[in-house]
Amino acid sequence: MLGLMLLWQLGTSFGPLAGGSLPSAIDALSALGALLVLPEIWIAMSQTMYIALAGLFASVLLGIPAGVLIGLSPFAYKSLKPVLDFFKVIPPIVIIPIVIVVFGPTSEMGIFLVVFANFFMLVFQSAYGVRHLDSVLLDTLRCYGMSKWDEIWHARIPGALPFIAVGVRIAVAVSMVVAVVAGLIGGAPSLGQQMLLYQSSGQPNQTFALVIVFGILGLSLARTYSIIQRKVVFWTD
């Protein structure tokens, strides 16, 4: 890690990027340090977190139950699958132009975008997880005459949890990214918007510093989620 930083510093001081617009490591880091004392950065950070977390919870609360119910009904699953397949590959950035016009550059716009990004994927993962119960287990339960309700509650839903956990892990990362994007492109209050301001007003060091911030935020969010996941889905590796 240190090595790369050194390379970066050297590259920008002496190499082909010298004198160019890419800030050197020292410049960016000192800018980062300077930034951390600015209140507006912390406000922007909390705004970003607000959009990301609110959107995450909304999409989880809406998507997982819907997905489970859909997965339990073969008819619903078959009917909805094409719709899910279509929407889950559309990146939220695509709908930004319309969403901006409808919601304006607000936090609500950001939250809507986050939900749009996660909802279909979560529904799909949950439905898939509920449907794919191990055949050996299913046979065993049927032989023992287990009721449908027991089968759903004790077998299908716990069995689906690893799949749902994967979906949520993706959703966590996506929520953060989309919150930033909502700001960067949509002008919603977030660090993304802050970054755009810096870039367009010609403050390269700060712009770059924010990039580093994003990286750190992303990593810590991922780590936190891993810990939570290990507690909930304790029986998988």
Partner: protein, 256 residues
């Protein structure tokens, strides 16, 4: 047989068709400036995109997308192979890659704007850069997950390191690598649009941006629908290619 297929088709398609139809019907008399009647959107869509604007906007977008994508995937595979097979290099580089990977791809676009200005080079560079990492990470994971028994067998058959790499290790990691490439494709698509929304010039995203600024909502809707559909189509085509390339894997999975 035909009855089975058509029953299946109806079962899968009734909902999408019903949704589009209800949108059409419910919006017919819409006065809302933000949600024009679907009929109007459709007419505008045909007017704008059925072939008039295609070379102007769609082609540049696609060219940028695919050049950046292939560039990035190529570097991703090459780099991934090097890192995945070399403990020393891996230890040196991996923390940095982990870090860069956590940065939202779209957030890197302003950096590229800073370096390259608002040009096509900027877009391709940004797209390529974003496309590198999902593929690279997948390749690294694929190299690590190579079955040791497979490698031992290759050694017994006295394959050269290069042969082992190309004919054994990479194909064995095929499924993982392909899913990484798919993510790269999706990221490339997002960055393509992002670079257009932030920059200027030609491209579907750029077109939609201008339309929104000029409050040509219907035009903007057509742009959005076009982008969504393209995103979907690109994925579908990729899946077809993947299915062909990984045929051995899919069939063997079914048999086990």
């Amino acid at each position: 047989m035909i009855k089975e297929i058509s029953k299946n088709a109806i079962h899968s398609l009734w909902l999408p068709v019903a949704l589009v139809a209800s949108w059409w019907i419910f919006s017919t008399n819409s006065q809302d400036p933000y949600f024009p009647p679907l009929r109007v959107i459709w007419e505008q869509f045909v007017y704008l995109w059925v072939f008039d604007n295609v070379p102007v906007h769609v082609v540049p977008s696609l060219i940028n997308l695919f050049s950046g994508f292939f560039f990035g995937v190529f570097i991703g595979i090459a780099g991934g192979v090097v890192i995945g097979t070399n403990q020393g290099v891996a230890r040196f580089v991996e923390p940095a890659i982990d870090f860069i990977r956590s940065i939202p791809a779209v957030a890197t676009v302003p950096i590229f704007i800073m370096i390259f200005g608002l040009s096509y080079e900027m877009r391709i560079a940004a797209i390529a850069f974003a496309a590198i990492f999902p593929t690279m990470l997948a390749v690294i994971q694929g190299m690590h997950s190579n079955n040791p028994t497979l490698l031992d067998t290759a050694k017994v058959f006295r394959l050269t390191p290069f042969q082992t790499l190309v004919r054994v290790r990479i194909p064995a990691a095929g499924p993982i690598i392909f899913s990484g490439i798919q993510v790269s494709l999706q990221v490339a698509f997002v960055v393509t649009i992002a670079s257009e929304l932030l920059g200027s010039g030609f491209g579907i995203g750029a077109f939609t941006l201008i339309a929104t600024d000029a409050f040509l909502i219907t035009d903007a809707w057509t742009g959005v629908i076009l982008m969504g559909t393209l995103g979907f189509l690109v994925n579908v085509i990729f899946n077809l290619v993947e299915r062909r390339a990984l045929r051995w894997y899919l069939v063997s999975k079914k048999l086990s």
